[in-house]
Amino acid sequence: MRLGLPRALTYYDYYPFWAGFFYKLGIQLHTSPQTNRTIMEDGLKKAPDETCLPVKILVGHLLALQDQDVDGIFLPRLVSMEKNTYLCPKILGLPESVLYAIPREVKVYTVDINWRKGKGLVLKNLYQFGEEIQRTKRQIREAFVEAQRWQKAYQRMRNGGWSFEESMECFEVLAEPVKLEKLGFIGNLPFTEDMDLQIKEKKSNPKIALVGHSYLAYENYANLNLLQHLKKKAEVKVVENVPSGFIEEKHGELPKKMFWSHAKKIYGAGAKYVESQEIDGLIYLSCFGCGTDSMTNDMLARKAREQQKPYLVLTLDEHTGEAGLITRIEAFLDMLERRKAHESYISPYGKRLDRYSNIT
């Protein structure tokens, strides 16, 4: 059996889990190719017009999977990945909300993952799914343990400073034996010492933090290679570099806890970076129509204003012109440099004397 997994949305956070799960079950998991122009355009044509960019890209990937040699498409419904949180409603609405974009004869496998009520419910739903794919409870249980092990390993790699591509490569190679043959190597650790050296050489570059959803930050086609552009000129930190302890701490300072796990992670990491002396500035990567970002971004921007931290918001849409994006990044980085060179010369624009006065 061969299942297709779209390289979109929750792939960017939970791929290792599914890779481990299906690896143990002896089911091949085939991931759709990197987003390209055809995928993006197909998605834009077929997806509901008011939904957000990542869902449109997901539809493109689903359509791309049809042509691949797979027995079905696997599109899980991730309801909640930890206690007291949800994922965004548009992710909860999968797969139903994108079903009518793909032909009816394509078999779509799905399973609800809901950690709100604990491990019992997750396993129960997985057992049901197991019946659908002819696997026993025992097999599912073993696969589940393996999946969690892979996911934890992934998180450790990311906290340890590995980049998204480096760590994902390991799991893809393991889960897709076909790829392994093509590449001709087995699990070579990509993190070497000269990388450390490279970072040391670039010491003078500004340090910035890129915060935003993983499915935007690592979606290199949609974000127009933002990370690569940034890395040329600055030292970049991302959300995943912040250990969960710090995220919980910063998030705990809010009077009301946020109930979206992505937004919580972004807010916690962002707040940590805003207060960190090491970070010179923040870039918030959002996309048009993102509901949770409208709130997280507003709260982080307010925090950045309070701390007088440079803050840039980049909103992605279906635009594909790179020049505009690069100009904005360059201007932002120039500003950071100048700010360092002329430390005491700061524009008073937009600053209020105290929160009770209206004079700006």
């Binding site: 109930f259 979206w260 709130m295 507003d298």
Partner: protein, 381 residues
């Protein structure tokens, strides 16, 4: 402490009653207007949903009348409304309004916390018995209010004089606002049904239309957009004036019953049956009113309604999910569905034109039954 609260259609009548029963000092903000929206759009994040912007406008306009505390309900997601209270507090404080926001919800699931908040709102003078009575009375009033609204949905398309209907509607609302006892509420309802009966016979006589021939359209969607006439461009009224019998899927008391009283009270038009109807199309709760919208659409389709209108504010996450599932309902039952997204646009003519065109299509498909497929291609998406 002077309390103010956001507008949502006629909800202010109910909230005002509650606060009056509890003897809380309050101020009702002026009804939603362009100015409200302008204030809101200046303060709120650009891509926040429309209700947040109007809420902020209401609070600022309330502050101009002396309010210093805002009252709002909350939630634990995944709809953005659940986080309104916290965000609004931050925004207002940064804008220089030192507002205290009371969010009526159990903080971190603690019932004790909710009781403390109610106590903070009600002040030390009210005992718990009185608070419970006030809540129950406000709830009964909201049921009566919904009944009045529904009466007018059925009455408006049948009479030729729409101005007279508007007058009667305002009169009924004002009478209900002043009713402060159970008996008072019953009297208002009786008075209204007598009045309607009287006008039917005396004023209209021959001109009174036959209910059998009217088109029936269901209005589904996000609750704020459906209830608030400023946002929906009074679409229910306009449909009624075009001679269409409107039925609304969701009412204030139904929502309050399900979300505030946790299903203990069902309200006028319970929303519970929608969940099982929605199951074949949307198998999981996604927050907001997506399941209600899909379930109600199925219900109206099964009852043989002529068409459906879905209302949503731009960028509403749950309703976008519903909107992408409704074409399937449309296909399965052959019922035309029009999705209408509202934003900060205030030009009513554009919406009216679309509504008129939709009604024309529905009428036509009634005359030429065979052409119904043509209508389906045009309406909806």
């Amino acid at each position: 402490m002077k309390v103010t609260f956001p507008h949502m259609g006629n909800a202010w009548i109910v909230i005002q009653t509650l606060l009056e029963c509890l003897n809380v000092d309050y101020v009702t903000p002026p009804p939603n207007s362009k100015e409200t929206l302008n204030i809101g759009t200046q303060l709120a994040p650009e891509s926040a949903c429309l209700p947040l912007k109007l809420n902020l406008g209401n609070f600022v306009q309330g502050a101009a009348l002396g309010a210093d505390t805002a009252l709002i309900t909350g939630g634990v997601g995944p709809c953005r409304f659940g986080y309104y209270g916290e965000l609004e507090k931050q925004i207002l404080q940064e804008a220089g309004y030192d507002f205290d926001v009371i969010t009526l919800e159990p903080p971190d699931g603690s019932i004790l916390g909710l009781l403390q908040r109610i106590r903070k709102l009600a002040g030390p003078k009210n005992n718990w018995r009185k608070i419970t009575q006030a809540l129950l009375f406000a709830y009964r009033k909201s049921v009566a209010l919904d009944r009045i609204e529904n009466t007018f949905h059925g009455y408006r398309p049948l009479v030729p004089d729409s101005n007279r209907v508007d007058q009667l509607y305002d009169e009924a609302r004002m009478n209900l606002l002043q009713a402060m006892s159970e008996q008072g509420i019953t009297e208002v309802l009786n008075w209204l049904s007598d009045k309607i009966q009287e006008e039917k016979v005396c004023s209209y006589g021959e001109n009174y239309r036959d209910k059998k021939n009217t088109l029936r359209v269901g209005v589904v969607g996000e609750i704020y957009t459906v209830l608030e006439p400023y946002v929906s461009m009074e679409i229910e009224k306009e449909l009624g004036n075009l001679g269409v019998l409107v039925d609304r899927s969701i009412y204030l008391s139904g929502w309050v019953g399900q979300h505030v009283f946790r299903g203990l009270a069902q309200g006028y038009k319970p929303i519970k049956p929608y969940y099982s109807l929605a199951k074949p199309y949307l198998n999981h709760f996604v927050g907001g009113h997506a399941m209600e919208t899909v379930g109600a659409a199925v219900k109206y389709a099964q009852e043989g309604y002529d068409g459906l209108v879905q209302l949503l504010p731009l960028g509403c996450m749950p309703e976008i999910v519903a909107a992408s599932i409704l074409p399937k309902v449309q296909e399965d039952y052959g019922i035309p569905i029009m999705t209408l997204t509202v934003d900060e646009h205030t030009g009513k003519a554009g919406v009216l034109t679309r509504v008129e065109a939709f009604v024309d299509l529905l009428e036509r498909s009634r005359i030429y039954k065979d052409h119904k497929e043509g209508v389906l291609e045009l309406a909806g998406r």
